[in-house]
Symmetry: C2
Subunit: 185 residues, 2 copies
């Protein structure tokens, strides 16, 4: 079965292609509306909009950054947070609180004609730290300020191989893989 992955990010596409190697994954780059709401509402709306355009099985994904000290904020609004205060600003903000814990949560939304979107979630627990390392590709990336539990590096200091080992996207895509394996067409 052919599945379209809506992303402009080559690295994300390669990662997904590796995990979903039993299916014919195609990269499609189209602009989709990002609504306000919970990460689930946003990803459902995105998949539905993409289906209206493409009319084929497809997946979309996005990562929310949920800080415990802020009751789960910035969540899906992480790009706007970084646009407003940057990685330095978010680090300083969280370090005004005692609790620096964070969850990086990837939601993958899979949809095909005639069905509602199905969501798969991958969560990595971590800590907000002072920026170390680089951002990759993306302008508003939190990689330098998030250090996954069990690692002494931030995502920004890791090689792509190291990142893959603590990838919330990997967890969510593996759940989708298991679903697709058992799905009856």
């Amino acid at each position: 079965m052919k599945i379209e992955f809506i992303t402009s990010n080559q690295h994300k596409f390669e990662e997904a292609k590796h995990i979903l190697s039993d299916w014919e994954l195609e990269q499609v780059n189209i602009d989709l509306t990002e609504i306000q709401g919970t990460r689930f509402e946003i990803m459902k709306a995105k998949a539905k909009e993409a289906l209206r355009i493409l009319k084929r099985p497809l997946l979309v994904e996005d990562v929310s950054l949920c800080c415990s000290a802020l009751g789960g904020l910035p969540g899906p609004y992480i790009k706007d947070f970084l646009r407003s205060i940057g990685n330095d600003g978010l680090y300083e903000l969280i370090h005004k609180y005692a609790d620096h814990s964070v969850q990086a949560i990837c939601v993958v939304s899979y949809i095909k004609p005639g069905l509602e979107p199905i969501l798969f979630e991958g969560i990595v627990e971590g800590t907000i730290v002072a920026p170390r390392g680089k951002t990759r590709n993306e302008t508003y990336s939190w990689s330098p300020i998030v250090q996954p539990l069990g690692s002494n590096k931030t995502y920004g200091e890791m090689s792509i191989e190291e990142q893959s080992k603590c990838s919330m996207r990997y967890v969510a895509l593996t759940k989708l893989k298991h679903f697709l394996e058992t799905e009856i067409d």
Copy 2:
């Protein structure tokens, strides 16, 4: 000319009706998508969506709360901020910084068939203070923590008459009024 005002809030409708008394204002209550983006992008998208549904001259409005300490956040995401950390949480957050200044910014978006939306902005300068007074009607209202400059009361402590005197909505709607007066149909 008849103009539809998309709002579920009776008080907002009465305020607008009072200011735009030369036009026949009608209250319409429909659910519109709230996209992510700047307050301008959000209000343009809302007006366009409403026009697709109603196909008549109409206006939509919303208020962003822009804290200087956070580079303009929460901005249009104020409802989600209050849902996550509440008025107490936002007050505590801002008071971890030296700068407690805030702008309450109303954007009114007016559109009619065949035209792009036109935006009018009303800004009230104020300070984030410890919660005093009540919220009115709305579940996620910041009225108790915003004190406009020149007042010793928060919006939550004011009567509706007092609120009207420092209303960002009043400023924006008055700009719309002046535009409508000079508009050639």
